[in-house]
Symmetry: C2
Subunit: 560 residues, 2 copies
Amino acid sequence: MLKTRLLPAASNAYQYPLLVKSLLLSGARYEKSREIVYRDLVRYNYATFNERVARLANVLTEAGVQAGDTVAVMDWDSHRYLEAMFAIPMIGAVLHTINIRLSPEQILYTMNHAEDRFVLVNSEFVPLYQGIAGQLTTVQKTLLLTDGADKSCALPDCIGEYETLMAAASPRYAFPDFDENSVATTFYTTGTTGNPKGVYFTHRQLVLHTLAMASTIASLDSIRLMGNSDVYMPITPMFHVHAWGTPYVATMLGIKQVYPGRYDPELLVELWRREKVTFSHCVPTILQMVMNAKAAQGLDFNGWKIIIGGSALTRSLYEAAQARGIQLTAAYGMSETCPLISCAYLNEELKAGSEDERTTYRIKAGVPVPLVDAAIMDEHGQLLPADGESQGELVLRSPWLTQGYFREPQKGEELWAGGWMHTGDVATLDGMGFIDIRDRIKDVIKTGGEWLSSLELEDLISRHPAVREVAVVGVPDPQWGERPFALLVLFEGQQLDAKGLKEHLKPFVEQGHINKWAIPSQIAVVTEVPKTSVGKLDKKRIRVDIARWQESGSEFLSAL
Amino acid sequence: MLKTRLLPAASNAYQYPLLVKSLLLSGARYEKSREIVYRDLVRYNYATFNERVARLANVLTEAGVQAGDTVAVMDWDSHRYLEAMFAIPMIGAVLHTINIRLSPEQILYTMNHAEDRFVLVNSEFVPLYQGIAGQLTTVQKTLLLTDGADKSCALPDCIGEYETLMAAASPRYAFPDFDENSVATTFYTTGTTGNPKGVYFTHRQLVLHTLAMASTIASLDSIRLMGNSDVYMPITPMFHVHAWGTPYVATMLGIKQVYPGRYDPELLVELWRREKVTFSHCVPTILQMVMNAKAAQGLDFNGWKIIIGGSALTRSLYEAAQARGIQLTAAYGMSETCPLISCAYLNEELKAGSEDERTTYRIKAGVPVPLVDAAIMDEHGQLLPADGESQGELVLRSPWLTQGYFREPQKGEELWAGGWMHTGDVATLDGMGFIDIRDRIKDVIKTGGEWLSSLELEDLISRHPAVREVAVVGVPDPQWGERPFALLVLFEGQQLDAKGLKEHLKPFVEQGHINKWAIPSQIAVVTEVPKTSVGKLDKKRIRVDIARWQESGSEFLSAL
């Protein structure tokens, strides 16, 4: 380490730790009359919000929650969740956002693994909770969250109902200072193999992520994604990477926030219209559902700015959204990265390009946001050139990456092999800094001695007018090693078989975009593509389904 | 300290320090074709800028500069200064930005006190440097900065001329990681009593300040002060609080930057016009000079967004600027605060007010930016209520405040008495969070048993149509303790005496804004008001001048 001039130790007394509570200074304190809205059920202003954060801190403290304890939440996206995102870390406890789309067995596993001491449970999940309660090893007390009139709690060890307790609690709390490297939040990634793994983020990390995200989305490009006058509604769940960290940004800026509970597309459209939402974030499949909602038919979404992430953004979806008035901005991140890593916006050179070229860049993963180092690494741990050609694993450095997996030191070391965080994504990095994700390492199809990106093939197939959704996976093939297999959902009344798809892909082979092995020899037309709990294509399950169909024969299949 | 769950020590290996070099990731790397401009002399793009930062690091390293050394710069605002703001901290050294408006004796004092090892000197300051060189105790080497054709260096221990050395140096440098609490910059405040005091800022502080400032100025209000497409030109000097930290923000966002050298108003207007500047920051007196410049006559400054700080913004200047198309945003800070503390923007309630009410808030010091705690403290160290009425000293907490004064532990302890940083400003804080600076503690006029704000009186006097500039100070008075004395500069061809001023102020007495003791019994009309090296009213010198005039009698004086 260099011998720089360090601060004198005595002056450390005046160091100011980066704590989640500091995000409540500024906007959230100043814009007192701005609203926080939960469906058509709750509406209050930031003055009330600040008081409610203090009330919740008092409820938890009086119930015996101590600094260092883990407090779990099982809820749909709500004002209550937002309150928990502040109050729980602010008393020095750890917020565990339970992934409610996991199976009961997986939820049980994560709760025991995270050592949850205290759980806030939405009334809709009471039966689920009752089913696993007997096997929970660390939970001491529970608390009921409900939208209904019935406030009686059927949970074991229940201290009462949220609103009843909140009403009785003091609206003042002297939130303490503590070490900024204290863990603030944890949640479990939905790995495709093995048990879910717990990632965790500290106060320092959340504050830095919030500042960098605010700097980025407020300043980039010709549009301002989120400024002081915007209205924010998340459409990625709060249990998943804190709704991409955006509620922290919205609160720091003091802007109106709208929480939709469950992601019913009709309700989302209705809330967008009624609350004049201008800024959201979601995954491609949900955006598709929103645009296809009955309430959305004939509607002009002009002025809606949406960050798209979670899966690759296809050109066809980008253009479809644009035609409906929605301005999409692609972004990249994952559970391990808090999550924001990069954002697709155009620099001076790209702005001067044709609309087609501009779109090509607008649907990539984007350029790293401030304080993010990105590089491409080969399988021997060597960094590859940023030439737009060299493919390798995308690796990262940044102040807000998970420092490991909770109680899984071995997996943590693999994640950080060589001092870089390994994303598991195959990517290229070009001279401008643009990250282009080619595929998940495990989803790359090895065919005819070459690597074929399943994402690239999905993009080309999605351009066929009959195709509504597509998933491509590699299936074992004795001759080629693997061959691509395409699972399709078609628009109503449309038809497509393997031969039709081949015709569609031929021009791309002729133009050199893909080679001829990339044409799927077998496809299946289904009514729905399996998704993970966070709405991504579930390629693990798709492979299992295909293997079963291929064994047993199936009406879904169409071969060349 | 609470027992929170801390990160396991092993995982600290993956901590990512907050270093100035990380500000060069993102915008500065991505917007390669954006320009950095120095007057009409130099123009290059960010690709070149990144290389030049590495070249300068190599020049310094080859000259023997080591981590922990202090490297001083004596230059006007230039691209070279910007390069130094990055390269010097990035090699682990400390950048001392020398206040070139101080007297040679004061410059000598600060250079010896800061223990400068290496000095970059603009050719214009070579005679000054030669005059003090014999008394410099720590300097080992010098380097010449010049805009001229003559590259020969007349400085003692000179290693050569900047561009010549840069051209020969490698454009690559592996900038190291080190502790984020390493000091990155230092400079001296122009105290009104005693020797200048050295404040210092760490890498962590500069990075956090940059992120918070970017978040604020990009997101606040209905206007975006600085977004990706803006063009930035500083009009407060780079030696003074790093030009308010804004070059770091501009570089992180990758926007075009224009450096004007000396602050000649005609040149500033010409650069504004030619380079299409949209964003600047300056003190009120300089703005007045720019608007009064010959080149500005009849010019519509529409689209120019300017942050005003350093001194109070008067209503008349705000309105005059608005009439010329300039959108002013008041901000507050000082040398000790890096500097941004607060920014005046309107929340929902204020936006609904009349134009007059809106202006009342737009000219205040504003609301604290994210991560800043502000409070009002009485002389016994007790915090006072934020009621808009209680006056006391404004005290602060934030991650980017100087942790003391270099080699002045006693003064540092006074600065941080009670764990808050003392600003020396008398202020009120209202229920919305708005800071209203009433005066410097030492400039408050104690008259007739009450405190009179010299700033408030200056504001009222400045509304007289004949008054171009005004400074009010308290002068000793046997009967009243102190009485206000007004120093005036009038517009050409205008006249005003003490009686005329009394007539102007009478209505404010009748409306209860001020009491009758506030009316100056004596004024002086002068051609220029003394200013400090950073363009603020020099009330210390004004008091000396007045005392001299009062002793000797003077044609300037006019009494009631």
